[in-house]
Symmetry: C2
Subunit: 487 residues, 2 copies
Amino acid sequence: MAKKITNRDQDYSQWYLDVVKEAKLADHSPVRGSMVIRPNGFALWENMKQVLDRMFKETGHENAYFPLFIPKSFLSKEAQHVEGFAKECAVVTHSRLKSVDGGVEVDPESRLEEELIVRPTSETIIWDSYRNWIQSYRDLPILINQWANVVRWEMRTRLFLRTMEFLWQEGHTAHATKEEAVEEAVRMLEVYRVFAEEYMAMPVKTGVKSESERFAGAIDTYCIEALMQDGKALQAGTSHFLGQNFAKAFDVQFQDVDGEHKYVWATSWGVSTRLVGGLIMTHSDDQGLVLPPRIAPVQVVIVPIFRNDEEKSTVFEYAGSIMDELEQTGASIKFDDRENHKPGWKFAQHEAEGVPVRIAVGPRDVQKNNLEIARRDTREKEIVSREGIAEQIPALLETIQDSLFEAAKNRMESRTQSVDTYDEFKQAIKGGGFIYAHWDGSAETEAKIKEETKATIRCIPLDEGEPGVCMVTGEPSARRVLFAQAY
Amino acid sequence: MAKKITNRDQDYSQWYLDVVKEAKLADHSPVRGSMVIRPNGFALWENMKQVLDRMFKETGHENAYFPLFIPKSFLSKEAQHVEGFAKECAVVTHSRLKSVDGGVEVDPESRLEEELIVRPTSETIIWDSYRNWIQSYRDLPILINQWANVVRWEMRTRLFLRTMEFLWQEGHTAHATKEEAVEEAVRMLEVYRVFAEEYMAMPVKTGVKSESERFAGAIDTYCIEALMQDGKALQAGTSHFLGQNFAKAFDVQFQDVDGEHKYVWATSWGVSTRLVGGLIMTHSDDQGLVLPPRIAPVQVVIVPIFRNDEEKSTVFEYAGSIMDELEQTGASIKFDDRENHKPGWKFAQHEAEGVPVRIAVGPRDVQKNNLEIARRDTREKEIVSREGIAEQIPALLETIQDSLFEAAKNRMESRTQSVDTYDEFKQAIKGGGFIYAHWDGSAETEAKIKEETKATIRCIPLDEGEPGVCMVTGEPSARRVLFAQAY
């Protein structure tokens, strides 16, 4: 079979597209910038959703659903927020088509009085509801999450990483005090970190954004940042402390225990189908997708090998008993009994699709009470005895999970360095990776660095750090911040 | 406490709105015709989704996600389909806003070359993908479902029952033969019937739509029809056999086993958040929402009763042990330990929210090792011994589930009648309910009946039936069909 996936070191962008295609994760859609998420890709997102949804509920959140359309006037209410989003929105202006010469045209008479914006994010429409729901401190906190599609009119798109429409969750919480709101924003950042590292096996750096990288309308944007195999950073999740900005814009006040009327404090936080892109670029190799077992829709695939009906019947019976035993361990198993394809084709396809463990059984395995186990991550094969697989396979899945995380963590750490001078920085940034360097805290210096090196401040770490002097201006710096070129 | 819910027999529409409000299911949104689904309402929908999603997967379907926006030209490709939907769509014409005098305006320079339609349903965009996915009989069947939001520009809207944006699932399948496709459409109708009756405890009539009530682009539309408490019918789910209409419109052919190129056969099927409206109107009463236990987010609520800290500590300990024991049965339990509200207020609130079983425990119950159980459906209270509740409560939940279904089924059957003459029909339709009557099969007669009585043909039953003569024209009729006034 001809190799369908470009090597990473040959053309990284093409490699990414090839992996997405061969793993059947997504297609480009006829609407520029939109994508079709195919069953394999959607099953990944469903698994991510399920874990995150449980984590959100365990931290006290409920799901709700707010409208897709936002009246244009709402976007004028929070000035900073407008500036950040106003430039890239899908605008609904009409409500009817009419038939014309066998085709359809927009009916000009259906023009709306006020245009509607397809939500790029839902702070405005949600805080409009919160005004009706909040009267007293007894109504607080409100801890709501929404799973939804949102639209941002992106010019340069890439499957999963940046698309015009994407799927995400957006948490929107309302609190009586500033402390509670900050605590919530930090709590959800930690939920994201745990999810990224323990489920996606994707190590991340955490911190807070500089003012120019902050969410439009936020006081502080906390983030998790991952490092892709090409040395570029990927912002993988953000959690915003919004202060009282939206409460003031939408006049959301509550009567506190002391009888005073006060503005409510807010957070919002989100991760999106972009995570699927991050997952792909963290683990995959030149044979295709590599999935951490805790997120993999299929953890183990069993491929039968036989040449005639007699062998088929023996092998199927044997494979069936293995499958029954493994299913009782709670693992997600698939028996690939397709007749139209040969074992070699199936092996390559399961590799491309990233199934963590492949079991192959043929007539000789039945005789010897053996089976062949292949790990997707290391591509190692081993013949093992059938006895004890109910313990061995779950243990192997855990080993793969841990080893993917360790490998990714080592890659990230080996590509993370500290530099002192701007010359060193310019040299280092060419090789990719994370760079810690001192910065004077000014937007001007930040802009200069971005312009000259394409590197941005990914985050300011939350720990104390050592003071120093800015690598560009020599002005005092409270601590080193994290730079990288980013997606 | 003043009664917040209008009686059904006083003003049915207001009763419905009051139930939605007091059960905190949904709010009107500032965008006319859209709604905000509040956490209580969304938890109901989540439970419905979870059951349906399992049923879809058990019948071999996978989930995927297709774009929100459909190019306008796609809607011109299937002529019948256009006619059905073209009149009520949200149309995106621009892609940018700009800041003007502290507000925002649509940037006229961002006008799109081709307008985009916010999906009213996804046949066109999905069959455009299927063309790329299907080459051979080996690629068939394709059994895909999508959970999504859709938009239809409705003029007269009502929370859950008819909203501009709603949430739904849409299955879209592709098959090699007509027989397989018809089988699939009928299979999914049966999935809907089982879901409606066994989970929602909502009895339904099944059948096929007349030509004028059929989905635009379908050969046959199968449906489940429920009867609401005001005697009006509600179309609760539809499953369409689409023939080769979309395959021809989007040129989707496959090479069959015999080497011939053939057009693919299609189905689509969907249920929506409208089901939440159906659920409300099937079971609820003048005290508020009534929920069947299998769909209820909270099945049992425990309300503690105490006057001082000492009592509180005794009662909480006792309630906690009950809660632990019940949680092990798999029931969904909530302990209402809110301090800001009195037991009487809590009782009324849980009634309004439809919690199937309420347990109240006070100091005397602790002494006597008792507890008070109240059923939401019958509003009966009973003092029972604490011993044996781990068996009693799950059994009670099943009893409530069955008894809600029986009650609804009896209501439906008692309001279902057969008539022979048009005069009888006109008289009967005033009282609401389902009416079986003979019809000559013509669209003219159907339209006349609709105009004169507001009754429509809800479905043509699938069984054989007895021939007769049309109640209006006296022409021959193959069998009686089911009429009702409908939502």
